[in-house]
């Protein structure tokens, strides 16, 4: 197997995303799903860093909106209240003038057309806005008239304004066209003749003047000021709602003679603010409602533009931050991946060297096994030589033959041991094959035969007869079992027990249980025994790799390891392996 390219290679930026999966390394990696770690890291960083920014932006935006809103309300309120006061003053002033005329002059001088003409011209001069004047008796007949229209002798008996005004001292009408076809307002004042009969002094007012007065309050193009009557019909033209006398698509606001501001019902791009007030003079109420309409979007233009710029800046900031976050996360996760990869590679190399160490450990025992027959050969051959060196010694052919037989027997003992070892070691290279677990265990135990004898260890193996041969990597399984059995032998004191139980867990599992009556593993160490370099045999030769490699190997064979241990009583390692390896080709 050529492992060189794994170790010396270019370390790409997105190594963790585009690496080729390697089953040999995967079993030693701490984290298996790097893309997921990457995405989680980006998300956590993004949320923690961008959330406060977005949050403050939203709050800020709302604050601006609020302050602009209240500023707008204040402005509308001011305009409405000013316009209302002017409007009221306009009407009141003219009403009072008429009042003055009827109170000051006797009836007979009022019905004199010439005199009335004079009064009209004086009123025009003093106040302006008057179109004509007329005197109407309580039957509705026009008695005197001064003005540009030829309306003399008309009867107003059935006109609604007449019916309303004859019942009151003062009257102000809606805007209407009447007989003359020009929008006008009627102001009427009731009085009595010397004979106790009622009569009206009626003046018509020019709406033009009223309109120009209202228009003077328009501070900008976004403001619309107009009048409606109490049924919502426009009394002056509106730039928003259309011509005079058309019904405005507005809900008539509830009565209030003070200024009110209605907030828009659907705020948004086309939002607006509406100020209104019912107009009432001191003497009489009027049918007019003053409306001030302010378009929000246009008034807030500056603010909205500022907000937009701000949003752009925030947006760009977020984008830049996202890019940085992504780059940093990618870099960090990649470093993590490379470190993990390096660790896995080291572990893989360790696994191979541990395999050798494992065999080395075996060899020490085997050398001892071979030394005994060698010593016998040495002594027997030495004795044969002695027989010739000490000539007075008696020697028979039969004895010589026996001695030579002893030598041959000892040589064959050595031969058995070496061939056993060779067979065992050679099998490390075998990949997937059918493995008889019983034979494997017996083979491993045979190397420990002398040790069990010396230490007086009681070894029992219980292999249930229905255990099938398992398809797996023989070398790896051998290494696993060697590690665990070697560990057990090291833990067991003299006269201890080693029990090996193999059982079949249908349908697809075989469990191998290795229990010893050794020193046990303290509870706090149990969780750490599979960590690399964790060793309690500090004073001895332990590298701390044995169990961690065993765990890695079992993982590779798609099995699991379970440990139970109580200090001073013993340890049970249970390895569970699949009968058929799912990824036979890869493992």
């Amino acid at each position: 197997m050529n492992r060189q390219p794994l170790i010396i290679r270019k370390q790409g930026w997105l190594e963790f995303l585009f690496h080729r999966p390697n089953v040999h390394l995967a079993s030693f990696q701490t984290i298996s799903n790097y893309p997921r770690i990457w995405i989680i890291s980006i998300m956590i960083l993004a949320v923690t860093s961008l959330a406060p920014l977005v949050f403050t932006t939203v709050i800020n935006h709302q604050l601006i909106q609020k302050s602009v809103d209240s500023e707008l309300v204040l402005q509308t309120d001011r305009v409405t209240s000013n316009a209302k006061r002017s409007m009221r003053f306009f009407l009141e002033e003219r009403l009072n003038a008429l009042q003055f005329v009827v109170n000051e002059l006797p009836y007979y001088s009022l019905i004199d057309n010439e005199h009335l003409d004079k009064i009209l011209s004086n009123l025009k001069l003093g106040f302006g806005g008057f179109t004509d004047l007329s005197i109407i008796d309580e039957d509705g007949s026009q008695i005197a008239y001064a003005g540009p229209f030829n309306l003399e002798g008309k009867n107003y008996k059935n006109q609604s304004w007449f019916i309303q005004s004859i019942e009151k001292d003062n009257f102000i009408s809606e805007v209407f066209t009447g007989y003359r076809d020009i929008p006008h307002i009627i102001i009427a004042v009731r009085s009595e003749t010397a004979y106790g009969r009622h009569f009206l002094l009626r003046a018509t007012l020019d709406t033009q003047r009223l309109m120009s007065m209202l228009n003077s309050y328009k501070t900008n193009v976004h403001t619309d000021i107009f009048l409606i009557n109490r049924t919502g019909v426009l009394q002056t033209p509106s730039t928003t709602y259309g011509k005079i006398f058309t019904p405005a698509p507005l809900k008539v606001p509830p009565y209030s003679d003070t200024t009110h501001v209605i907030r828009p019902e659907h705020p948004g791009k086309n939002g607006f603010i509406m100020g209104y007030s019912y107009i009432a003079t001191e003497a009489v109420t009027t049918p007019f409602i003053l409306m001030v309409h302010k378009k929000k979007s246009d008034v807030m233009g500056t603010w909205l533009n500022l907000g937009k710029t701000f949003n752009w800046i925030i947006g760009v900031c977020c984008l830049v931050m996202m890019v940085i976050i992504t780059l940093v996360s990618t870099f960090m996760v990649n470093q993590l991946y490379l470190a993990d990869q390096a660790k896995a590679e080291t572990m893989l190399k360790m696994e191979q060297s541990q395999q050798l160490a494992c065999i080395g450990q075996l060899s020490a025992g085997i050398a001892h096994e071979i030394n005994n027959p060698l010593a016998l050969i040495n002594e027997t051959a030495g004795y044969l030589k002695d027989l010739y060196q000490y000539p007075d010694e008696h020697r028979s052919d039969q004895e010589t033959s026996e001695l030579l037989d002893d030598i041959l027997e000892a040589v064959s003992r050595c031969g058995t041991i070496t061939s056993q070892l060779l067979g065992f070691v050679r099998q490390f290279d075998v990949q997937i094959s059918s493995v008889n677990v019983e034979k494997l265990i017996t083979g491993i135990l045979s190397f420990h035969k002398k040790e069990t004898e010396y230490k007086g260890i009681h070894v029992t193996t219980a292999i249930s007869p229905n255990v099938p041969a398992i398809k797996t990597d023989r070398g790896k399984l051998q290494q696993i079992l060697l590690n665990l059995i070697n560990n057990a032998f090291q833990a067991i004191e003299a006269n201890g027990c080693l029990d090996i139980k193999v059982s079949y867990l249908p349908p697809n599992k075989v469990s191998i249980e290795i229990s010893d009556t050794g020193c046990g593993i303290p509870e706090e160490n149990l969780k750490r025994i599979h960590e690399p370099f964790f060793s309690t045999k500090k004073d001895k030769m332990g590298t701390g790799l044995g169990l961690s490699i065993t765990y890695g190997l079992v993982k590779k064979l798609q099995g699991t390891v379970r440990v139970e241990s109580s200090e001073g009583i013993g340890t049970i390692f249970t390895v569970t392996l699949p009968v058929r390896n799912r990824k036979e080709g890869n493992a």
Binding site: N371, L374, L376
Partner: protein, 119 residues
Amino acid sequence: MKIILVDDETKFINMLARRLSLRGLDADVAYSGDQALEKAAQTRYDIAVLDMKMPGMSGFTLKRKLLENLPDIKFIFVTGHGTIDQNGIADQSNDIFLAKPLNIDTLIDTIRQRLDPDQ
């Protein structure tokens, strides 16, 4: 000079005893620790040649037990391992360790030296 050889390899130890007797050194043999203790109860041995690893009783245990009866006895250990077992060092004694297979002359020299260090 009384010598006892202890090893579980019977043929080996018998052969060794024979070769020693050819060289004028009479030696008793025992095939286990228990047998050695039995023989030691009857004979005052000057020196014991022990195998370190034996079933039942190890060489070191046997040494301790022999010393109870024969405080002056000297020891030579024989080991199948090429190197000396770490446990032996903890003993802090002057015992000599020899590796198997043995050279008969080295063994005899060692025995002589051990019994009469002044030579």
